[in-house]
């Protein structure tokens, strides 16, 4: 009887949380995955996990903080899985396109092509990190990255995790890791230059 009572109390509280926090959790998950269906699933899984692990909660933190920490773990899992599945299928493609990719930026001696040289960003001292317009441009640039670059960037910056730990989790070598980061950065840099600093 007591158990039943606890059970219904628990579901009452989590139901309130769903009503109160699901939009916010969804915004966060969508922001991190750019995938509406995946974000919905992640939010749903977060609430189910919170329901099952309710006893661990014990008002140690605010419910929102607790839910967000569960959600962030789920987002990490999502990117790890996605990295693994896209990396396998892309790794041979990656090798084939390797030269094509770098040829876009560099000449035969791997020097910058004139038209791809980083331009001066005159207003770079003025970028406000919390500028909504700048963040929207940055977001679009991140969205354009190939899936494995996208997921690795997410994993690096969500947790500010050490490079070697990310490599271990993903089962890739350190040199592969920063090569992917390098590719991502080259693309992001040019995208930001064209869409923000040149405007």
């Amino acid at each position: 009887m007591n158990n039943l009572k606890q059970e219904s109390k628990r579901s009452e509280i989590v139901t309130i949380w769903v009503k109160q926090f699901s939009d916010e959790l969804f915004s966060w998950a969508f922001h991190k995955t750019s995938d509406r269906a995946a974000a919905e699933d992640l939010v749903q899984e977060t609430f189910i996990a919170s329901f099952q692990a309710f006893d661990n909660f014990l008002n140690k933190s605010s419910p929102k903080t607790w839910l967000l920490s569960i959600l962030n773990n789920k987002i990490n899992d999502f990117h790890r899985k996605r990295f693994r599945s896209t990396y396998k299928t892309e790794s041979h493609l990656l090798k084939e396109n390797d030269n094509n990719f770098y040829d876009y930026f560099f000449d035969d001696n791997y020097k910058w092509k004139d038209e791809r040289k980083p331009g001066e960003w005159n207003n770079s001292d003025e970028i406000l990190l919390d500028d909504t317009e700048f963040n929207a441009v940055l977001h679009n640039c991140i969205d354009k990255l190939p899936p494995n670059c996208f997921s690795i960037i997410q994993l690096k910056y969500i947790n500010e995790q050490e490079g070697k730990d990310i490599c271990k989790e993903l089962g890739i070598s350190q040199s592969n890791y920063w090569q992917i980061l390098h590719r991502a950065k080259l693309q992001l840099r040019e995208c930001l230059e064209n869409n923000w600093f040149k405007k």
């Binding site: 939009d23 922001h31 560099f106 910058w112 490079g163 950065k185 992001l188």
Partner: protein
């Protein structure tokens, strides 16, 4: 002499790769020296290095602040589905 220069001289591709490596993993002494040498002579890579740091800061901020993105909404129907599924 020219040969000797080649040993020290990185390509821009390699230099920018080391710039990224430096941001996440430590460089060896030789790499550090080569990169320093290259960047001191190559304007484009110097600019890249500066911008790469700026992008790094922007990404760090972008991913960890909750107020930098638009609000999205979940449908009421979906909220009800979540609530229903809790009790399964």
């Amino acid at each position: 002499m020219k040969k000797l220069m080649n040993i020290f001289m990185l390509s821009c591709k390699k230099a920018t790769e080391l710039i990224e490596k430096e941001l996440s993993i430590k460089l060896t002494k030789t790499e550090k020296f080569k990169l320093h040498f290259h960047v001191s002579m190559c304007n484009a890579c110097r600019t890249y290095k500066k911008q790469s740091k700026i992008i790094d800061e922007a990404l760090q901020y972008h991913f960890n602040e909750h107020h930098t993105h638009q609000s999205e909404y979940i449908s009421e129907d979906f909220k009800n589905i979540i609530i229903k599924n809790l009790k399964k």
